[in-house]
Amino acid sequence: MKNDNLKQIIILSVLFLGVFFLFSFLQKEESDSISEITNPNSKHYFQDKTIEWIIPFKEGGGGDTWARFNAPFFQKHIPGNPAIVVNNIPGGGSIKGANLFAERVKPNGLMILGTSGTTQMPYLLDDPRVRYDYSKYKPIMAYPTGGVAYVSPDIISEELRNLKVNSVEEQIEKSVRIIQELIDNKVQLKYGSQGPTSLDIVTMFSFDLLKLDVQAVFGFRGRGAGRLAFERGEVKIDYQTSSAYLKNSIPLVESGDAIPLFSFGALDDNGQLIRDESFANSPVGVFNGEIVRVNVPHFGEVYERLGHQLSGIEWDTWFAFMSAGFGGMKLLLTPKETPDEIVAEFHKGIGAMKEDPEYQKNKFKALGEYKQVIGKPADKIFDLATNVGTEEKAFMKSWLIEKYDLNLK
């Protein structure tokens, strides 16, 4: 190499790198200071700052849409109007993005993580790939959801198919009879699943508790693909989360091509399982051209009516994983050490967001009937979703090994 060349490279490199690192150093200084928040005279903490919202899912999916729906309202209402950047880091069924968050996050509110039931499952099952720890985080906001399982009328006797219902009670009765008939006739069902460590665990476990003979066929990319297989007649039993059910499965119920069996229910303020109000007055069947609308019974009601106890390890395991998967469907997290003043800024923003007419106008379509909650109710959901007893965990793990030969070690 010629001497002149070397000189030119060194001069220019020093110049460019010098400018670059000087700027990034100055920027870093600014973003690292938390002190301002405690000083009442200072500007808002989040002013001129950027909040990075990590979503460990692909663009376009449910988790992504949730974050992107909220982001502009956060930007508008959090004091100081911080820029909100949604950063999608998909991979390993959301493990990758959550791990990355665990590695990088500082307790300054500038990086937040939006997790979902899918993120909770491998954590609860001690998947060795998981390097995030929910016990080190606290919720800024929580958002529950639900789901409905339904079957194809093809596999049910005509008499039962046409059995008209007039109330939830009768719908419970109908579901029970359908299940009983499937068991008695030894009907083998197939279910299109995303995989044995996904949120589908809850569904498959539910079928198993009901003693339905359901074989999971893995490899489906998303619940939408599962619903398509149902419409094609490849699978005869399916479930969808609330918004997808309301949008795309209800038309099947209305045309008589699907019969709802049970919903996963919802949790009330005390953490008790109740009927999911999202399905209040939703169609459950069409009889002589008349669409009947009653609420869909929840799993517990059907399970109990089949003669099982709502207690014991099987029920506790179901309840624990249902709470983790659906009750805490979406959690917005920050490290535990994040100062309360910073979390309060978020809460101010979320409070104002809920008053925003624009939000009120669009929220039903984007989020459904469920409320995004903060404070105590959020803590309750977070607790239910991330603290599963050791016995329940062990029971689920051995069930997965027995049923799907899935060993997570």
Binding site: Q8, I9, T65, G91, P196, G219, A229, E234
Partner: protein
């Protein structure tokens, strides 16, 4: 129906709606030019503005954005050999070959007018069929989808080059690489070698860039000439391209049909549509001698198909709420945000919105193709720039594009590793399209096979759809043996008179063989369902791979499998040893790990221009600032991340 169709058009042409459509189109064009960025990046930029817009304007903006990305992705595919999006890989084969002949603007002209035809075709089909498409979409069960994957694989025959054996091994190699990661049937992890990054398998973007773009860049690097070499840019080239399209109008329409159908089948994915169209044009052409060397039909076919695909993909998206392609997933997310629910209601009570979408699609395609044609002339001058001035920008672009795949430094290392494999595949005449088709279809073939066996058992072969696709595949195989794409025919002719050293080929073939053996060992450790597919493929290609190794080992020079471009080209063509580009790029990545990507690219630019292009201090500074400035600009507006350094 026609009242509604016209009413939708009228609404769209009111100034305020039209401006939004134009905005979407412009954004789509700018983003589409950068490989690796797609609708996703565009959406995140658009999103804050979607609130408060009325439905029609918002839809127009979204569709404008999504519709023109495959159009402008053509720029890099043709001009630089960098596949601009997952559905313009096949365009590279003949498009870039034409650019190297100095016919870049002709290729672009043909490509954009084909995009226009395809886009409009897709919109027309959508208009007439959207209301009755539901049963059609439901015909495609897992058995049919599996057979379609096999049909895609049957295209390999037409793309394998002189030696079918090498083509088959390349394709099988691609399938095995594609099956790295979690098994669709069981979730077990295959061939991950303890690397977390491999859990989800290798990203298509990274593989496409390393197999196609990397070897081309490294070859140009070593030739030190402009992309177009010494050839002059033909005058009025663009119009020639348009005339080419008119001459081949039936081909363009057939490929648009293929694109629409493939797009409409949920679960097929957009990344095979261009290959199916390309395979189709090769199989139906009498004179196949120019394919791979710059046949304009090789540009028209994939480009009309990939724009038509979007129209097709809108059907499952709107009717079932199931995205038919990657960009449709984003579109669907966007619809939720403006409060529109995709589903059966799109053809009943919201039919007016559907027509708005269709018209937006059609108009966006016209605007996109028009603007691109307008820009094609000036931009194709890039191919005349001395490569040492262009190379750093191209290396920056492919690195940046690869990093967008999963935002992990491993993206870059994999780009380097598979780039090396790509270099050798090109040099030894192993069909790169065959490898890529295998890679793209691996997961699809496996998961649909698993599903259809469980759903139907042997009865799957009695389904009418399956039988039809089997017949199509057989026809495709039959035609494929009547002639195949062979970019190396001339060099091979020359090579016949030379005495080649076969050792380099032997080493490469042995390495592929070793990988096949690893796959066999690994599959045997999995459960039956988790390993059976990989094992079958590995055993199927094992004898061919052994045969290749044996042929090279006993120095049988006359075999058609023998080929080494390095030894066949004229002395003095390459001015740098083959490993030099790898050292430069590898050096860039090592430096990125240490000090971060942006500072590393600064040093890389400065060093490269100074040493390879001998530029003056001022010119080096200006070029470097331009490159880094571009990176910052995109990074800032699209909120992109770059690899961070360990030390600083």
């Amino acid at each position: 129906m026609f009242d509604l169709v016209l009413q939708a058009l009228q609404t769209l042409f009111t100034p305020e709606h039209f401006v939004y459509l134009l905005l979407g189109v412009l954004l789509g064009l700018v983003i589409g030019i950068f490989p690796g960025l797609g609708g996703i990046a565009g959406l995140s930029l658009l999103l804050p503005f979607l609130y408060g817009m009325d439905e029609v304007s918002a839809l127009a903006t979204l569709i404008g954005l999504v519709a023109v990305i495959p159009t402008s992705a053509t720029f890099t595919s043709v001009l630089m050999g960098i596949p601009g999006s997952s559905s313009s890989q096949a365009t590279v084969l003949d498009g870039f070959a034409l650019a190297k002949k100095g016919q870049a603007s002709r290729a672009l002209g043909a490509a954009f007018s084909s995009s226009l035809v395809g886009g409009l075709f897709g919109a027309i089909i959508l208009t007439f069929f959207v209301q009755i498409a539901r049963p059609f979409i439901l015909i495609f069960g897992s058995a049919e989808l599996f057979m379609l994957a096999i049909f895609g694989l049957s295209m390999v025959g037409s793309l394998s080059g002189k030696s079918l054996v090498k083509g088959v091994v390349a394709c099988g190699f691609g399938i095995l690489v594609g099956s790295i990661g979690s098994a669709p049937a069981t979730g077990e992890f295959r061939m991950i070698f303890g690397i977390d990054y491999l859990y989800d398998g290798l990203p298509l973007v990274v593989i496409a860039l390393s197999i196609f773009a990397f070897p081309e860049i490294s070859e140009l690097f070593r030739k030190e000439s402009a992309i177009a070499g010494e050839s002059k840019l033909g005058k009025g080239g663009m119009l020639t391209g348009v005339k080419d399209l008119i001459k081949n109008k039936w081909l363009a329409l057939r490929c648009s049909g293929i694109g629409t159908i493939v797009g409409a089948i949920p679960g097929m994915g957009g990344s095979v549509v261009d290959w199916i169209a390309y395979g189709h044009v090769v199989q139906t052409s009498k004179d196949k001698s120019q394919f791979g060397k710059g046949d304009i039909r090789g540009v028209i076919a994939p480009e009309s198909a990939n724009n038509a695909k979007e129209g097709g993909a809108l059907m499952p998206t709107l009717l079932f709420g199931i995205p038919g392609s990657g960009s449709m997933a984003v579109f669907l997310g966007g619809m939720v945000l403006i409060g529109i629910e995709a589903g059966p209601s799109m053809v009943t009570k919201d039919i007016d919105l559907t027509y708005t979408i269709i018209w937006s699609l059609a108009i966006a395609n016209v605007l996109g193709a028009g603007l691109s044609l307008f820009l094609a002339g000036p931009i194709s001058k890039l191919t005349q720039i001395k490569f040492s001035l262009l190379a750093p920008f191209m290396i920056m672009v492919i690195s940046f594009a690869a990093f967008q795949a999963t935002k992990d430094m491993m993206d870059l290392w994999m780009l380097l590793v598979f780039g090396l494999i790509g270099i050798f595949m090109k040099r030894f005449g192993w069909s790169r399209p065959a490898f890529l088709i295998g890679f793209v279809l691996a997961t699809q073939a496996e998961s649909y096979l698993n599903m259809s066996v469980q759903f139907y058992g042997w009865e799957m072969f009695l389904r009418p759809g399956v039988i039809i696709i089997i017949i199509l595949s057989l026809i495709s195989v039959y035609y494929s043996r009547k002639g195949t794409v062979d970019e190396n025919a001339e060099l091979m002719e020359k090579e016949r008179n030379q005495k080649l050293t076969l050792t380099p080929q032997l080493i490469f073939a042995a390495a592929v063989l070793l990988f096949i053996l690893i796959a066999i060992v690994d599959s045997n450790q999995q459960s039956f369902l988790g390993g059976v597919f990989t094992l079958t493929v590995a055993y199927a290609i094992l004898p061919f791979a052994l045969w290749l190794v044996w042929t090279f080992a006993r120095k049988k020079n006359s075999d058609p499998a023998v080929f080494d471009a390095e030894q066949a080209v004229e002395e003095g063509t390459f001015k740098a040893p083959w490993y030099e580009p790898i050292l430069w790029i590898g050096g860039l990545y090592i430096l990125s790990v240490l000090i971060g990507f942006i500072p590393a690219i600064m040093v890389f630019f400065i060093a490269f221009f100074t040493i390879k292009a001998n530029t003056s201090l001022v010119k080096t500074a200006v070029l470097t600032a331009a490159g880094v400035g571009l990176l910052f600009l995109f990074g800032y507006f699209l909120n992109l991340e770059f690899p961070q350094g360990l030390l600083l």
